[in-house]
């Protein structure tokens, strides 16, 4: 078990976003978290990345409690995140964005050349300011930037958001290559069918609680729909 979230809650001021979440990510697998807007998916990922502190419970990475470990020390432990909305540094070039991703890199297979090989289309734009990229290119850079630290656990927040289906397909195809290198993936998706297609295990969040989890292959669409909306059709 590379990551386990145990009974974790999170608050934004007086607002409680997560209520005692339990989640396990076995090494080498792909786990998906699905749920509607505001279900707490991004809060969960931000908590694992260290941007949000759990108000209760804990996050355990490779057996060590991450309490008190600031976000900027987590890449060196092997946690990398592709944040929602890509969040590239717009005044930096593509190459500089990737270099920032590798600022606290662990040893491993990923470097500039490897990223350019995975996403040949961004290699062409390496000296362009990242603010001028298309959505798909930007997402590729964002994923490449996270890979530059040679993570053991890759957190992907809404990779498909706002992208054309053909681009999403290409990005998820690249995910297969990434996993082949031994990276464990925890991804958040609103696109349920996409999540079920790539994940080994799926958690469904509803209003801050994990209401359903199971092997992706074993879940019926009705179960998922009920968990997603909190109601039957």
């Amino acid at each position: 078990m590379i990551l386990s979230v145990e009974e974790a809650s999170a608050h934004y001021g007086k607002f409680q976003a997560l209520f005692g979440i339990d989640l396990r990510v076995p090494e080498g697998q792909t786990v998906a978290v699905i749920g509607a807007n505001g279900a707490g998916k991004s809060t969960l990922l931000n908590m694992i990345a260290g941007l949000v502190s759990p108000s209760d419970g804990r996050v355990v990475f490779e057996g060590a409690d991450l309490r008190g470990v600031p976000a900027y020390e987590r890449p060196a432990l092997g946690i990398a995140m592709v944040p929602e909305g890509r969040k590239l540094f717009p005044s930096l070039t593509v190459r500089e964005n990737l270099q920032i991703g590798g600022y606290k890199a662990r040893p491993g297979p990923w470097n500039l050349d490897a990223v350019y090989e995975l996403f040949p289309n961004i290699a062409r734009h390496q000296d362009r300011k990242s603010g001028s990229l298309s959505g798909g290119e930007a997402q590729a850079v964002a994923i490449g930037r996270a890979l530059m630290s040679n993570p053991r656990l890759l957190l992907l927040d809404e990779v498909s958001l706002g992208l054309a289906p053909v681009v999403v397909k290409a990005l998820y195809a690249a995910l297969a290559d990434i996993k082949a290198g031994g990276v464990t993936v925890l991804l958040v998706e609103q696109d349920v069918s996409q999540a079920l297609a790539v994940a080994d295990h799926v958690y469904c969040l509803l209003e801050g609680r994990a209401v359903l989890d199971g092997a992706a292959a074993g879940l019926s669409m009705d179960q998922v729909t009920y968990a997603y909306f909190g109601a039957t059709r």
Binding site: H11, Y12, G13, A49, G50, L51, V52, S53, P70, A71, Y72, E73, R74, P75, A76, A80, M81, P83, K87, F89, P90, S91, L92, E96, Q99, I100, G101, Y103, K104, R145, S149
Partner: protein, 688 residues
């Protein structure tokens, strides 16, 4: 030949200003932090150099080797232990903290080094000159400074674009949250940036100290020079900084060539002209200033004026519309179903008894002159003035999101307008409201200048405007020049009667001012203003007339400060430009608002009363008293931003001047929809 000489001197002077500006621009670029203590830090470096020279007899040049690295350490520590606490919070916090720091520094320097001017000797190079051609000589020292400025700017340019440190700074500036995810310890990056900034400004302070004499009050000038350089040159452009320095240097030397006393004023005026014609700076990436840019600006003036008059009529319309509505409306939470009925209330808890209590206080105050001695009456007028000033600063900053460090401009203008009016035969009591009105009218064109800037830059911009007005007034012989003048028309008045009359006028004006602010904030315009404070662009996109609402608030603040200045003149009978346009006045306003509570009507009143008491008992301690005030301001801004009244309302929900709306359901569950007391509430994040 004099003119050629003047121009060469002006260009070289630009080197000093570019050095002052570099750190200011770097800190703003990386952290969006406007460091109001920037000039004071330069001054600390210069005084440390003086102390070193005095203690060891070393050359001023050698002190650079000690002071500049020490300044870098100071910058790092300052950012790490103080300024990082302001990053990611409302901009008001960093402005208040660095302003408090500036107050502390200049007063400590005053205590340690006295108010005397000091100088640093540059040795033989300081007096040597280079022969350019025919009879044109320039000082070697100025040339060296210019070259140092170019070297510093080149080095910074290289660091930002080519090194890992620069990359980390740009990434942290773009998106600090994501930078954390990439393993970047942004707080350490910020500390590095501040270390570099303070080192460059120490360099500037020592070089300028070898060029010109300085005193503990020079820090404000340094800050304004650096700031003007940044704005003239254009933000985010390193070479623009040098160009901006040269433009400012030219303005100052040419101005001084025309009239020796007008150098600094000419610099301020050129800055204001640039602000009007090209607020993004002459040399920002948009290109150089062009004739078409000038034409655009000139054509824009009637449009903005038209918008203003249109806004006035629209404001009147909406005021009429809202007057027609009942203050407590009933609305159905879910139309069509039988859900709970929600009541919208405007009265807060304690509003009614509180209001009655306030009326009683005013009534007691109104009869006070019959019982109290003249000393008490005199002090109470001063306190009323302070309440007015604090309320006006709060209206701008706490509700309109405009932090001004230039309200002393209107205070001084109010006093001087009254002086001018009474000199021309106007009765004092008619003169006070008239002076306030005239000040308000002057504020309209001023607002067009000031609104070119935002946030911390607005703060310093208004300060420059106040300084320009101060310099103009202090050179006007008709108004008594630099030494000031007395209000002579009241000399035939019975002193006791005069004081009592002043008191009643002051009381009437303060009640009117607070009532006016209260009424404004309860109106639609007031709601719009609060929305602007929280997010200007969001408010604008929802149809709030941003420019109009801000301008009304600015105008009212100017009116109030003008009245306060006129009242002070009537109370003290004398006025001098140095004290009437003193930036310390704004420091007092800020302090009152901070103690009492920003963004509440009650706060500034409470703060002013408390501050008045503190001042009454401790101001005899002089300089240390101001140091303590600065320190308290910093602590309040970081630890207790909601002030004393904020604490009271959080515990009791008492609201004497309710300006928000409250939703209540029959089961007494109260959901508050009052605008947030602290501007821009932020999500609590992982401390690191």
């Amino acid at each position: 030949m004099t003119w050629v000489h003047t121009i060469v001197q002006g260009i070289l002077l630009g080197g000093y200003f570019a050095l002052f500006a570099t750190g200011l621009s770097l800190m703003f670029g990386v952290m969006r932090l406007v460091n109001l203590a920037h000039g004071s830090l330069a001054l600390v470096a210069a005084f440390c150099a003086v102390a070193l020279v005095n203690a060891t007899g070393m050359s001023a040049w050698l002190t650079l080797l000690i002071v500049v690295p020490a300044a870098a350490v100071v910058g790092y520590v300052l950012q790490r232990w103080l300024l990082n606490a302001t990053v990611g919070r409302a901009e008001v916090t960093s402005v208040l903290v660095t302003f408090g720091l500036a107050v502390i520094i200049s007063n400590v320097l005053l205590q340690v080094f006295s108010a005397n001017s000091q100088g640093l000797q540059a040795g033989s190079i300081g007096t040597a000159s280079v022969h350019l051609f025919s009879s044109l000589y320039v000082g070697w020292f100025d040339v060296v400074t210019f070259l140092v400025a170019v070297a510093v700017l080149s080095g910074l340019q290289f660091m930002m674009s080519r090194t890992t440190t620069g990359r980390l700074m740009r990434a942290s500036s773009d998106d600090p949250r994501t930078a954390l995810l990439m393993g970047v310890n942004t707080k350490r990056v910020y500390a590095t940036a501040t270390a570099i900034a303070v080192a460059t400004v120490a360099l500037a302070g020592i070089f300028f100290g070898m060029h010109t004499q300085f005193s503990p009050t020079s820090g404000n000038d340094y800050l304004l020079f650096g700031f003007e350089t940044v704005v003239i040159g254009g933000l985010g452009s390193i070479w623009g900084t040098l160009a901006g320095g040269i433009v400012l240097g030219l303005a100052q030397t040419i101005g001084a060539q025309i009239n020796p006393a007008d150098g600094v004023l000419a610099g301020h005026l050129v800055f204001l002209v640039v602000l009007v014609l090209r607020p993004e700076g002459l040399f920002s990436r948009g290109g150089a200033v062009t004739a078409s840019g000038l034409l655009r600006a000139v054509r824009g003036i009637p449009r903005t004026l038209g918008g203003f008059s249109h806004g006035l009529s629209a404001g009147a319309r909406s005021a009429r519309a809202s007057a027609g509505r009942a203050s407590a409306a009933r609305l159905q939470a879910h139309p069509g179903d039988d859900g709970p009925v929600v009541r919208v209330r405007r009265r807060g808890r304690g509003s009614l008894p509180g209001g009655v209590g306030l009326l009683a206080v005013v009534a007691v105050l109104a009869v006070l002159p019959y019982g109290a001695g003249p000393g008490v009456i005199f002090n109470l007028v001063s306190m009323f003035v302070l309440i007015m000033l604090a309320s006006m600063w709060n209206l701008l900053a706490g509700y309109g999101g405009m932090m001004s460090i230039g309200l002393q401009a209107f205070y001084g203008l109010g006093g001087y307008t009254l002086l001018f009016l009474t000199d021309h035969g106007v009765n004092v009591w008619t003169g006070i409201p008239l002076a306030a009105l005239i000040t308000g009218v002057i504020a309209v064109p001023v607002s067009f200048l000031a609104f070119r800037l935002r946030g911390g830059y607005f703060a310093i911009g208004t300060w420059v405007i106040a300084q320009a007005i101060y310099l103009i007034v202090s050179q006007d012989g008709g108004l008594g020049g630099g030494s000031g003048a007395s209000l002579t028309t009241l000399s035939g008045y019975d002193p006791a009667q005069r004081q009592a009359d002043t008191y009643w006028v002051a009381l009437a004006i303060v009640v009117l001012a607070i009532g006016g602010v209260f009424a404004l904030l309860r109106s639609r315009l007031g709601l719009g203003l609060t929305a602007i404070r929280d997010s200007e662009s969001a408010a604008g996109s929802l149809g709030v007339r941003v420019g109009f609402a801000k301008r009304v608030a600015f105008l009212i603040a100017a009116l109030g400060c003008g009245a306060a200045g006129a009242l002070t003149l009537a109370n003290t009978l004398s006025i001098a430009p140095g004290s009437a346009f003193d930036v310390t006045l704004t420091a007092y306003m800020i302090f009152c608002v901070l103690i009492g509570g920003l963004g509440t009507i009650e706060g500034p009143i409470i703060g002013a009363v408390i501050f008045f008491e503190i001042q009454y008992h401790y101001s005899a301690n002089g300089v240390w008293y101001l140091v303590a005030l600065g320190a308290l301001a910093i602590v309040m801004a970081i630890r207790l931003p909601q002030g004393i009244w904020g604490l009271v309302t959080a515990r009791t929900r008492i609201s004497l001047f309710p300006v928000g709306y409250q939703l209540t359901t029959p089961n007494q569950e109260t959901r508050r929809s009052e605008p947030a007391k602290e501007p821009a509430a932020s999500v609590r994040e992982n401390p690191h």
